[in-house]
């Protein structure tokens, strides 16, 4: 922060300087969430981050209560505490809640709350998406919990293996609740992933280049990419299984050319990266906390980034280690076994970096470090047993036993829960502006730590003795009673520890001593905000000229609060932050963020109604809430953009920048690009699934090969190309002295409609979709093509609406360029779909020898 403007009554741009109090009042007027019912319109990252964290903790409590029921059931042999039907629901929901409703949303909450403050921004890139994601998460979670309370919760295990989860073996709606509810929640995860990526890459403080970012931003960036590429296979698998369950269209039924292993591949392609998606944000938090308490900056900043990149990739090459016993050839097993062992190396690099940081500094032991000590012990044990189960021979012995239960809890509780408990104690003073005077945190730690080890260490032994997972009881003759009784005893000790933790947090929030900014003497930017933070985070935005973990937050905070940085004023009551060039970190645009709005809530309610309609089999009615969702999304756009070209705006410190709707690549352009990246994975998974069945699945070839006319397939491709070409023409017309894009937009619409028509006729030619997986896959591929074209039409309608509203000009082309990304992608996607559709119609499976 330059000192040259200190003490002047005018800013560098000549406008009168406001007093810090007046600046606070003006910014609060623009940024605060309205009181009362207006709280439901919140789009602010501080508010929503806290809500995510609280909601995730509520679900954690529910999942924990279910764990207690599991331990009560298994405490003794031949237990009649609950029957097998209820037990199946309990362990399924325990896993599903902890993975989908606790771990991921908890990390999202931390990211949403902290990221803008760490990056020196005023909010995330897409505040309304944050709000929409939050409501989708809460509503999706509520569907699952209500199902649990009404006795129709999912009961096929958290990984929903077919054929157990298929209609013949799970005829109720239990599996549908999982497939639809979890997919609903995944909307939240995908939207958070895109938002985190764009926010990290585009919405930082000027001067904060990527190489100066706090290490946690690197972690979150890489994890968000993992989510973007890891979740689509699960979403696809859920859609296909729901189609099979609802309409008997076979994708996983081996008697009709499907394959249950396809589900396992798609699920674990998501499921194993998921473990690292959960661990890495916690590792990011650890990398922030340890330097503070070691009083030494992180050792090996670049090495840690390399390690995280390596973990991110390698974690996608491990998925089959969950399937070592399904009969895959030994050669393929070696790939996954080797990758499973390899991933321990970059993980260990991070651990050694943390140890080196502690060793290089002058460490002081405080409560967060105590919990991090617990993390080190537990996670390293989990990592070592991970290497054990990565080895095929041992895995085959331990598969589906309690050894695996012990391993996964050591990894996930050690790798996520303990760091999050540490993080809670570390950042709670930031959230509340108070520090704890109470000493409950230490007995809470020892109860959780000892209770955890008593519970789960013994499961290694019961597992090695042969106790299987997912069975509701065991015979006395097995002689597992005493180990299980001690495990259950440990479980209850752990619960008492968590109860003490909750009481301690409550006491701090309610009665903690108010404290000045930065109680831990941290050196990162989030501590430069007042605590508790105001809605706008920073009175003005800093200029960063060194690594962002070498900051003096106290001094910088005072300068920012008095408006010495960028945007230290208000304008039109707008919510403003800065967009940067990704690499050089110089300001390229002024981003005007949307005000509080009920639209995310209404849209999530409409989306939830769509999900419920599908759940209760009201398929035709489901079109109503689906239409409502789309229409509401259009409403989101009404308040954005401008009807006239604007000159660059003053952003303070003598600089100016154009508004985001007048730059070539604003955050929303990047968001579309990354969304397409995620969609590419989804579509590739579908095409992989089709080829997988063709090459591997039993019962091929089908009795009669279903066929789609080549003319229709050609029509689909031509439609896609016309749409992409015409949309480019529309943009070029606009850029060419404000010409009308109307003809181009209408031409592009015609192209997409041609694709849709050809696809629909092609589907109608397939005949009975229930006959064989070949027909089912052709249907899915044609439907995917039509869906992409349909989304293209919606984007073109949006373009037309912007044109008629006068919001397009040669300078304001953002809306069309975002659409063009989609139209180009759709053209390529349709070509890929058509190629695979053609391959599926050739009788290649007759030549198979296996």
């Amino acid at each position: 922060m330059s000192a040259e403007t200190e003490g002047k009554a005018f800013t560098a741009s000549g406008t009168p300087r406001l007093s810090p109090i007046e600046l606070h009042k003006q910014l609060s007027r623009a940024w605060d969430t309205p009181p009362g019912l207006g709280r439901l319109s919140a789009v602010n990252h501080t508010v929503l981050g806290k809500r995510f964290i609280v909601a995730a903790f509520v679900f954690f409590t529910i999942g924990g209560a279910l764990a207690m029921l599991i331990r009560a059931q298994l405490a003794t042999s031949n237990s009649a505490f609950v029957g097998p039907d209820i037990y199946n629901q309990i362990f399924t929901m325990h896993g599903a809640i902890m993975m989908f409703l606790f771990a991921i949303p908890m990390f999202e909450g931390f990211a949403i709350y902290l990221l803008p403050k760490m990056l020196g921004a005023r909010d995330m890139a897409f505040p309304r998406m944050t709000a929409y994601g939050f409501w989708c998460y809460v509503f999706g979670g509520a569907i699952l919990v209500i199902a649990l309370l009404t006795g129709v919760a999912p009961d096929s295990g958290w990984f929903m293996y077919t054929p157990l989860s298929s209609k013949p073996y799970s005829p109720g709606i239990n599996s549908d609740v999982w497939l639809l509810g979890i997919t609903f929640v995944e909307i939240s995860a995908i939207s958070a992933a895109i938002e985190i990526i764009v926010s990290v890459l585009k919405v930082r403080a000027p001067g904060m280049t990527l190489s100066r970012m706090p290490i946690m931003a690197w972690y979150l960036l890489i994890v968000a990419f993992m989510m973007l590429f890891g979740f689509p296979p699960l979403i696809l698998a859920s859609i296909l299984l729901e189609l099979e369950r609802a309409f008997d269209i076979p994708f996983f039924d081996p008697t009709r050319g499907g394959d249950a292993l396809l589900w396992q591949h798609l699920f674990w392609l998501f499921g194993h990266p998921e473990v690292y998606i959960i661990f890495l944000p916690a590792a990011g938090a650890i990398s922030m906390m340890i330097p503070t308490f070691a009083r030494h900056e992180l050792v090996g900043y670049r090495t840690v980034i390399i390690a995280v990149i390596a973990v991110a990739f390698l974690s996608f090459g491990l998925w089959v280690h969950h399937m070592f016993t399904v009969g895959i050839p030994h050669l393929a097993l070696t790939f996954f076994s080797a990758a499973s062992g390899l991933v321990a190396i970059p993980t260990a690099v991070q651990i050694f970096a943390w140890i080196a940081t502690i060793a290089s500094g002058r460490p002081r032991l405080d409560v967060p470090m105590l919990y991090l000590g617990g993390f080190f012990v537990i996670f390293i044990i989990g990592g070592l047993t991970g290497v054990m189960v990565a080895m095929v021979p041992f895995n085959m012995q331990a598969h589906d036993t309690h050894f695996v239960v012990a391993h996964l809890h050591y990894v996930l509780v050690g790798g996520f829960v303990f760091p999050m408990l540490a993080a809670a104690y570390y950042w709670l003073p930031h959230i509340t502006g108070r520090i704890t005077d109470h000493k409950l945190s230490k007995p809470a730690f020892w109860l959780i730590f000892s209770g955890f080890n008593l519970t789960f260490f013994l499961m290694h032994l019961t597992g090695l003795l042969g106790m299987p997972r997912r069975v509701s009881t065991y015979p006395m003759e097995a002689k597992w009673d005493w180990l299980n009784l001690l495990s259950s005893f440990g479980g209850f000790i752990m619960t008492i520890g968590f109860a003490l933790f909750v009481i301690d947090i409550f006491l701090q929030v309610r009665f903690g001593t108010r404290f000045r900014r930065n109680p831990w003497s941290a050196r990162t930017l989030e501590w430069a905000t007042p605590t508790p933070p105001p809605s706008y985070a920073f009175g003005s935005l800093p200029e960063i000229d060194d690594r962002a973990d070498r900051i003096e937050p106290g001094q910088m905070g005072r300068l920012l609060a008095r408006g010495d940085g960028y945007l230290g004023f208000t304008r039109n009551n707008w919510m403003e932050t800065l967009g940067l060039d990704m690499v050089s970190a110089r300001p390229t645009e002024m981003i005007v963020l949307p005000s509080p709005s009920f639209l995310p809530l209404w849209t999530a309610l409409a989306t939830g109604s769509f999900v419920l309609s599908l759940l209760f089999k009201f398929y035709w009615f489901s079109l109503v809430p689906l239409t409502a969702t789309i229409v509401l999304w259009y409403f989101w756009t009404f308040s954005t953009g401008s009807r006239e070209d604007c000159a660059p705006f003053d952003i303070g410190r003598g600089q100016s920048a154009p508004p985001h709707w007048q730059v070539e690549r604003p955050p929303s352009w990047w968001a579309m690009l990354f969304a397409i990246g995620g969609d590419t994975v989804l579509l590739s998974s579908l095409l992989f699934g089709a080829l997988f069945l063709l090459v591997v699945a039993p019962d091929w070839p089908p009795p009669t090969l279903a066929r789609v006319s080549w003319l229709l397939l050609a029509g689909m491709v031509v439609g896609g190309i016309i749409a992409a070409g015409a949309a480019r023409f529309a943009l070029n017309r606009l850029l060419d002295r404000n010409g009308s894009p109307l003809a181009g937009l209408l031409g592009a619409t015609a192209g997409h409609v041609l694709t849709i028509v050809c696809s629909v006729i092609g589907i109608s030619e397939l005949g009975d979709l229930r006959v064989h997986a070949q027909t089912a896959m052709l249907f899915a591929i044609l439907a995917a093509s039509a869906l992409h074209a349909g989304i293209g039409v919606l984007l073109l309608i949006y373009g037309l609406q912007r044109h008629w509203a006068g919001k397009l000009s040669a300078l304001r082309t953002m809306d069309l360029r975002i659409g063009n990304l989609w139209h180009d992608f759709t053209a390529v996607a349709i070509v890929a779909c058509v190629i695979v559709a053609l391959v599926l119609q050739v009788d290649l499976s007759s030549a198979r020898v296996r």
Binding site: L201, S211, R302, G317, P329, L331, F335, A338, S584, R850
Partner: protein, 116 residues
């Protein structure tokens, strides 16, 4: 100030993208070869399937190594600004790490039974 293209960021993932591409190709061809009996076609002392997989492993390793060398050469090619310098060094070392990762991951092609 010279503006660096955002595609520089893609170099961070270059080495392991080569590893991932090799993974998809080798695992896919292993499944395809087993289904269509390439393991029953002798090619000298080894089967056609094993020959293909070994060739792909060697080519994949070579590509990953050349990529790492290329990134290192790009990094050394001129005085880069601070950020670009750090990003390229991260990209180079990540790519070098992908080389042994490629060898270890696919080392089974030399010994393990291909289709049983």
């Amino acid at each position: 100030m010279t503006r660096t293209h955002p595609s520089l960021l893609l170099t961070l993932a270059a080495g392991f993208t080569a590893w991932a591409g090799g993974f998809v190709l080798i695992y896919g061809l292993q499944g395809l070869g087993c289904s269509y009996g390439w393991d029953m076609i002798a090619l000298g002392p080894i089967s056609l399937l094993r020959a293909v997989l070994i060739a792909l492993t060697l080519v994949g390793t070579l590509i990953t190594y050349l990529l790492a060398r290329g990134l290192a050469a790009l990094h050394r090619s001129r005085e880069w600004p601070e950020t670009e310098n750090i990003l390229l060094s991260i990209a180079t070392y990540a790519a070098y790490f992908a080389v042994p990762a490629t060898i270890v991951t696919f080392s089974g092609v030399f010994i393990a039974s291909a289709c049983n």
